[in-house]
Symmetry: D3
Subunit: 240 residues, 6 copies
Amino acid sequence: MTTRPSGRAPDELRSLHFERQFTKHAAGSVLVSFGDTRVLCTASVEERVPPWLRGADQGWLTAEYGMLPGATHTRGAREAARGKQSGRTVEIQRLIGRSLRAVMDMHALAGRTVTIDCDVLQADGGTRTAAITGGYVALADAMDTLVQRGKLKSSPMHGQIAAVSVGIYDGTPVLDLDYAEDSQAETDMNVVMNEAGGFVEIQGTAEGHAFQREELDALLGHAEKGIGELLAAQRGARGE
Amino acid sequence: MTTRPSGRAPDELRSLHFERQFTKHAAGSVLVSFGDTRVLCTASVEERVPPWLRGADQGWLTAEYGMLPGATHTRGAREAARGKQSGRTVEIQRLIGRSLRAVMDMHALAGRTVTIDCDVLQADGGTRTAAITGGYVALADAMDTLVQRGKLKSSPMHGQIAAVSVGIYDGTPVLDLDYAEDSQAETDMNVVMNEAGGFVEIQGTAEGHAFQREELDALLGHAEKGIGELLAAQRGARGE
Amino acid sequence: MTTRPSGRAPDELRSLHFERQFTKHAAGSVLVSFGDTRVLCTASVEERVPPWLRGADQGWLTAEYGMLPGATHTRGAREAARGKQSGRTVEIQRLIGRSLRAVMDMHALAGRTVTIDCDVLQADGGTRTAAITGGYVALADAMDTLVQRGKLKSSPMHGQIAAVSVGIYDGTPVLDLDYAEDSQAETDMNVVMNEAGGFVEIQGTAEGHAFQREELDALLGHAEKGIGELLAAQRGARGE
Amino acid sequence: MTTRPSGRAPDELRSLHFERQFTKHAAGSVLVSFGDTRVLCTASVEERVPPWLRGADQGWLTAEYGMLPGATHTRGAREAARGKQSGRTVEIQRLIGRSLRAVMDMHALAGRTVTIDCDVLQADGGTRTAAITGGYVALADAMDTLVQRGKLKSSPMHGQIAAVSVGIYDGTPVLDLDYAEDSQAETDMNVVMNEAGGFVEIQGTAEGHAFQREELDALLGHAEKGIGELLAAQRGARGE
Amino acid sequence: MTTRPSGRAPDELRSLHFERQFTKHAAGSVLVSFGDTRVLCTASVEERVPPWLRGADQGWLTAEYGMLPGATHTRGAREAARGKQSGRTVEIQRLIGRSLRAVMDMHALAGRTVTIDCDVLQADGGTRTAAITGGYVALADAMDTLVQRGKLKSSPMHGQIAAVSVGIYDGTPVLDLDYAEDSQAETDMNVVMNEAGGFVEIQGTAEGHAFQREELDALLGHAEKGIGELLAAQRGARGE
Amino acid sequence: MTTRPSGRAPDELRSLHFERQFTKHAAGSVLVSFGDTRVLCTASVEERVPPWLRGADQGWLTAEYGMLPGATHTRGAREAARGKQSGRTVEIQRLIGRSLRAVMDMHALAGRTVTIDCDVLQADGGTRTAAITGGYVALADAMDTLVQRGKLKSSPMHGQIAAVSVGIYDGTPVLDLDYAEDSQAETDMNVVMNEAGGFVEIQGTAEGHAFQREELDALLGHAEKGIGELLAAQRGARGE
C-alpha cells in the first residue's frame, strides 16, 4: 500500500483552520489553512452592480484570485507587473465565482456586488479548493454583517458549499492532495459540492494515464467524505 | 418525456461531418461540423520549441481557440481588437491543448512545436468539443504529412481522442447539446475520452440546481456512447 | 515577354467565386475567392451607434480584418493572443472601412452600426482587395435583409464598389497578383473604384525601383479593366 | 475660380524652412516647417540590428511618428498614456519608413539601425509629408556625420526623396493643403517621389465624391511640380 | 575646491530662457531652457472635468511628461510604441501635477480641466525642474488667455511656483545640476517652492553615501537662492 | 494642543511588531505591523541577473509593492485584473528598491537577484514606510539564510535602514501618521535613514499650505527620533 508523503490515510484531510476577521476593513475576512496552504479570503460589498446588470432586479457576486509572488517554492512573477493575469488564474477565479454564486439568491442581493478576493499567502497544493471553502465562510460572514447593519433583512444565501481535491497518487485514490502529491499525481480532480450532497462543479484532468470509470467512482467517494467534513468545519468555525 | 428542440433522441448526436484539407497551407486542416456548429481546425508544425523547453529532449503541442465575430447570433467583439482574450477563450484553449497532448509522445516530437488552431466559423453550441474532435483529425493528418515528407519515421501519436457535451435539459439527460438546449440547460458537462474508454477530462457545471450522483452516472453513460460514435466517425473520415 | 507563374495573361483576373449565406447568423455572409485567396466576409448590424455619434442623425459602418493563423505558408501569430493588432492589420481594416463607407448613405442608416468582418481563411495574395470586393456583397445582402425584415424602407447604399491589386512583375504590368507574384513584385498598387469609374482609393508602393508615370498609367488601365469585371461578377452573384 | 483660404495659387507651396542641428544629441536633427506645420525630425544611429536581421549582411531603417498633445487645435490624447498608438499613427510611421528606405543601401548600413523620429510640435495639415521631407534631411545629415566620424567611408544613400500632399478643394486641384483646406477637401492624396521623377508612394483617398482619371492627372501634375521645389529646397538647406 | 564641469560657481544657475507662445494652438505654450535642457510646456484647457469630479464644484489640473526619443545622448524608446509609460515618467508627471495644483484655486476653475504637457526636446539634466518652472509660465499664460476671452473674471492662480535641483557633486553642494554633474552626483534633490518661501515638494535621494543633516541644510540654502532667481525670471518673462 | 485621534504623543510611534518566518518558501519572510497597518514582506533570491547586468560583476535588488484589494476601507481594484500598476504603486516600489539597495554591496551579490515583495494585507496609513522597515528585516534574514546554506561567505549588507512618515496634523508636527491623520494632514513626509544617522531618501509634499523651514526642521527631528526606535526594534526582532 502507498504511503503518502505526509503519512496521512488515503481519505484523510489535512489539518484545517479558519481564522475569521483576519483583517478589519472587508465585511468578511477569513484566513483559511488546508495544512500549509494559506489563503486570505475577503468579501467586500459595494452598492452598485456591473454595467450589464443596470436596471435588472438582481445583484452580482464575482471572485478574483491571486498568488503572492513569494507564496511558492520559486518566486512567481507578479501578474500586476506583467500586466496580465495568467490563464490559470483566470480559470481559477471563474471557478470560485461560479461555485459561490450557486448558493446565493441574486434577487435578494439586488443593487449590490459582492467581490470575493482570494489571495494565496502560502501555497502547498489545493489553493483553489481552499479558496472556495474559505471564501464561503467570508461570504457568509459578510452577509451576516449586512444583516447586522440593517442593510438586509436576512441573508440572501440559500445553501452551503465547500470544495476539495482528489487524485490518484502512486496508483491510489487519495483525498486533499498537498504539493508533494499534486506534482506527481496521475489524475487530479477538483470537486465542489453543497450541503445536500449535490455536485456544483467537477473538474478532472488525467495528467498521465486516462482514468477508468471505477477510479472515477473511488475519487468521487473520497470527495463526498471530505466535503462532509469541510462543511462541518465551516459550521463549527461560524459557531453554527 | 422531453422533446428536444431538434427532435433528436436523448442519446443522439447531431449530424457530423469532417472536411479534410479544407485549406492548403497547414500540415493538417479540417472543417468539422457538429450540426450547425462549424469549426476550422488547422495543425501547423514549426521546427522549434518554446524557450522553456530548449535543451530538453521533447517537442510541444499547444492549442489556440477563437470565435469569429460574426459566428454568433449577435456579433461578438474581436479579441484582437480588444487586445485581450476572454477568460472563456483562455479556458477553452487550455482544455483543447491538454486533451490533445494526452495522445502525443512528446519525446518523439523532439525539436518541433505543433499548434492546433480552432476557429469557430459558426456557433451553435458545443464549439469546444467539436474543436477537440476535429482538432484530433487535423493533428493526425499533420503527423501523417510529416511521415510522408520523411521528417518523422512514424507518427508520434499513441492514442485517439474525442469530446462531447452532455447535460440535463428540461429534467432529462441529453447528449451533444445544441445552442437552444445549452442556453437552457441546468447542468452542462464536457467529457473527453480516448479510444480505450479512459477519461482524459471531465468538466461539469451545475448552472441551476446541483446534480445528484445518479444524474452524473446517466450523463457519463451518454458521453461514453457518444464518444464511441465520434471515434468511429474520425476513423471513417481518415479512411482507417 | 513575361510568363506569369499561373500562366495568366497580364490583364487576366484569377477565377472568382462568391458563396453567399456561407454562415447563418450574420445579416450578410459571403465567402469570396480570388483564386486560392479565400476570405469570409460577414456584415452584422447592431441597433446602436458609437459613443461619438450619439445624438447625431446618422449611422456608422466599420470594418475589421483578421488573418487566421493557419491561413499562410508559415503559421502567423494570433493577434488576440499577442494582445495587439499589427500595423498591417490596422492599415487594411481602415482601408476596407473607408472604401465601403463611400457607397453608404449614413443618414439613411441612422441609429445603426454595420460591422464588416473580413477573416482570411486562406491567403494567396490580394487579401485586402478580396475583402473589399466580397465585403461589398455581404454588405449589400445585409441591407437587403434589413429591407426584407421591414427595418428599412430601401437600401441605404448608393453605389457599387470593388477593388483589385495591380503591380509590376518581372518588368511587366499585371493584374490581380497572387502570392508568387506579390512576393517578387517591384511595385504593388491597390485600387478601389465604383461603378461610375471613379477612384475611391489608390495606394501604390514601389518595393524596388520607383515607378514612372507611364508605368502608373498602364497599371491604372489594368485596374479599370479588372474592376469592371469584378463589378459585373458581384452583380451576377447577387442576381442583379 | 477658387480662392484658397491662404490666398495661395493652386500650385503654390507654403513657405518652407529647414532648421538643421535643432537639437544636439541625435546624429541628424531638423526642425522642418511647411507653413505653420512644424515637425522635429531626428535621425539616431544604433550599432545593432533588429533580431530578425541578426546574421544578415544588412542594416535597417525604421521611423516613428508622434503628435505632441498640445500640437492641435483641441488637445489630443497622449498615446504613451493611453498605452497604444492610434491606427493613424501606425499608418503614418510605416509610410515614412518605407519612403526613406527607398533611398538607402541597406547593405552599406550593415550592423546599424537608423531610427527617424518625427514629432509634430505644431500641426496645420500635411504633417506626414513634412515628416518625410524633413526626415530625409535629418537622415542625410546623420549619414554625413557617420562619414565625418570615420564610421562609414561614404554615405549609404543612393537617392533623394520628398513628399507633398495634393487634393481637390472646392472643386479645384491644389498643392500642399493646409488644415483649413484639408478638413474640407473632397480628395486628399500624398505623393512621395525621388529626384529622378519616380514615384515611391501614392496614397489617394476620396473623402467625398470619387475622383475621375483627369482629376488624378491634374493632382499628379501639381505633385510633380511641388516635389521638384521641395527637392531643390532640401539641397539648398544642405548646402549642396 | 571643486571645479564644476561647466565652470559655474556652486550656487550659480544655468542660463535661463523662456520663449512664450512657442506654438499657437494651446492656451499657453512656453519653450523653457535651463542651459541645454529644453522643454516644451503647453497648457490646454478643456470644458469638462474627469469622471470622478462630475457634480463637484471644482475643476482639475493634471500634467503629463514625455521625453522625445532623440532628446538624449543615446536614443530612448518611444513610450507610445512600447505601450507603457516608464516608472520614471509616471513619477515625474505626478510631481509636476501636484506642484502646479498647489497654486491653483480648484473651485474658481470649476467645470474645466487644465492639462500641462511637458515634452523634453533636449535633455541635459534637470528636466523635471525645468518642466515645473516652465509649466508655471504656460499655466499663468493660459489663465490670462481665459480672462482675456471673458471665460474667467480673474485668474484662479493664487501663488507662484518654481523648482530646481541641488546635489552634492564631488563633495560640494551645488545648484542646478547639468547631466555631467547629475550622472556623477552622490546626492540629488529636487525642491519646489512658492513665492512666499514655502516648500511644496522636497525629493532627495542619496545615490552614493547617505547625506548628513548639515549637507541637507547647505542644499536647502542653495535651493532657496536658486528658486528666488527663477521666480524673478518667470516674472520678467511674463512682463510682471 | 492637538490631540491625535489615537491619543498618541506627537513623537510617539504606533505599536510595532515583526513576525519573522511568516511564510516558509521565501528565504526571508516578515509580517510587519505598524499599528493596524500590516505588510507581508518576502525576500526571494534567484540565481540570475537582469539582462542589462549580464556579464557585469554584480547582482541586483529590486522591490515590488501591492495592496490586496480588501486591504482598504473601500475595496480597491486588483491591479493584475486592470492590467496595469497604478502610478502610486510604481512610485512606492521604486522607493523601496532604492532604499534597500543603499545598504547592499551589489558586487558581493554577483550573479543573484533579490526581490523584495511587499504586499499590504491591511492598510491604515504608512504602508510604504512599514514596507521598507519590514523589508529590511526580510532582506537581512534572507542574506543570513544564504550564508547558512553556504552560498555566501558573509552577508553582503553593509548597513541598516528604516523609514517612517512625519507630517503636520492640525498644525502640529507628528510622527508615524495613521490613516485618520494622513487623510487630513497638511504636509506628509517620508524619511528613510540608516543606522549612522544619514538620510537615504526624503520625500515631502505639502497637501495644503506650503511648509516653512522651521516646520521642516521639526519634522526631521521627529523622523530622527522615530527611526532610532525602529532601528532598535529591527535589531531586537532579529536577536541582535
